[in-house]
Amino acid sequence: MSRGMTLVELVITIALAAILGVPAGVILSEHLQAALRARDYTVGVQLARAEMEDIDSWNDFFAISSQAAAPVPGFGAYTRQVTVSCLAGNCTNTDTGNQGVKAITVVVTKTGSGDVLATLVSYRTKHVFFGG
């Protein structure tokens, strides 16, 4: 009586192991990518907020201007861009009678792939008096 496995049985066993192993590997890979994406989104949002808070701390309305996309210092894996546009009124006239509103958009992307991680929008006004 032969107690060993035939070649056919061995090949079938290997094939079944591969069929079971591939989905497990895919699940593991997706889980890892999800964890890394979570980190990217977390850091991206904080980098965007850091820039927005920086701009918010300035007292000079006219100094707020667009910044070209560039890697964030110390966080080269992330690229940050600031876009400033005059939303209403006159944003360049320094006379107190001239009102103006600037829209500030901060976008953080993954360097290389360009995937958008965070987009923040805020507004700054000059000579605008709110309320009655």
């Binding site: 032969s2 070649l7 061995l10 090949v11 290997i14 192993g21 590997g25 593991l28 889980h31 890892l32 964890a35 890394l36 979570a38 980190r39 977390t42 850091v43 904080q46 980098l47 907020r49 850091a50 820039e51 808070e53 920086d54 918010d56 701390s57 300035w58 007292n59 000079d60 110390g74 966080f75």
Partner: protein
Amino acid sequence: MRCVNRNAATLVELVIVIVVSAILFLVTPILVFHGVKTLVFLPKALAANDAATEVLHQVIEGGFSTLTGQPTVRGLRFAVRRSATEPALWLAEASRIGFRTADGQSILLRWDDLVASQEVIRRSLPTPSCTPTIGTEEVLPYHAQGIVRILPTVRLFRYYNQSGVEVNNPPTCPPPATIRRVDIAFTAQTGNGVFDEGDAREDITSSVAIRVP
């Protein structure tokens, strides 16, 4: 008479077995090792991410507190000058910051590295002073102590004026009233933060404007 051994393998079968075995022996250990390392790394990566997010949220926005009599404690976003003699910030150092809020809280946040490999940020409510007497403290976040280490990126807190120029370095007490923004930068990591050792690491930074210094 011709003898036939029906229990032996043919040369072709032997070669096929050798080839298949070689492929398995070469590929399987690498996959298994990588898989095990990933399985060990993943929960630590999530823990580091959670701790980093929670620390920043508590420092900047504030939140629920375990301090006696204080169900919530506000964050740096609510730092405000209460009077001419009570500025928003009463302490501004690289690893400690003390601030006042409009609802009467005086909060101290400090980095504590007293216990090796268990570096954390602690929060308390002492009386404002250049040398505050620290009473009861809570860890931020409480669930990560001993698991995730909070390590400053050179300096945990940096201070900037309204022109974006760094000030108060070296620190003075009381801190200058020109501070308009506080940067927070740290690394949240498990163990040594090396992936090959199955540890996770996350560098993170954020800022908060001090609107009424």
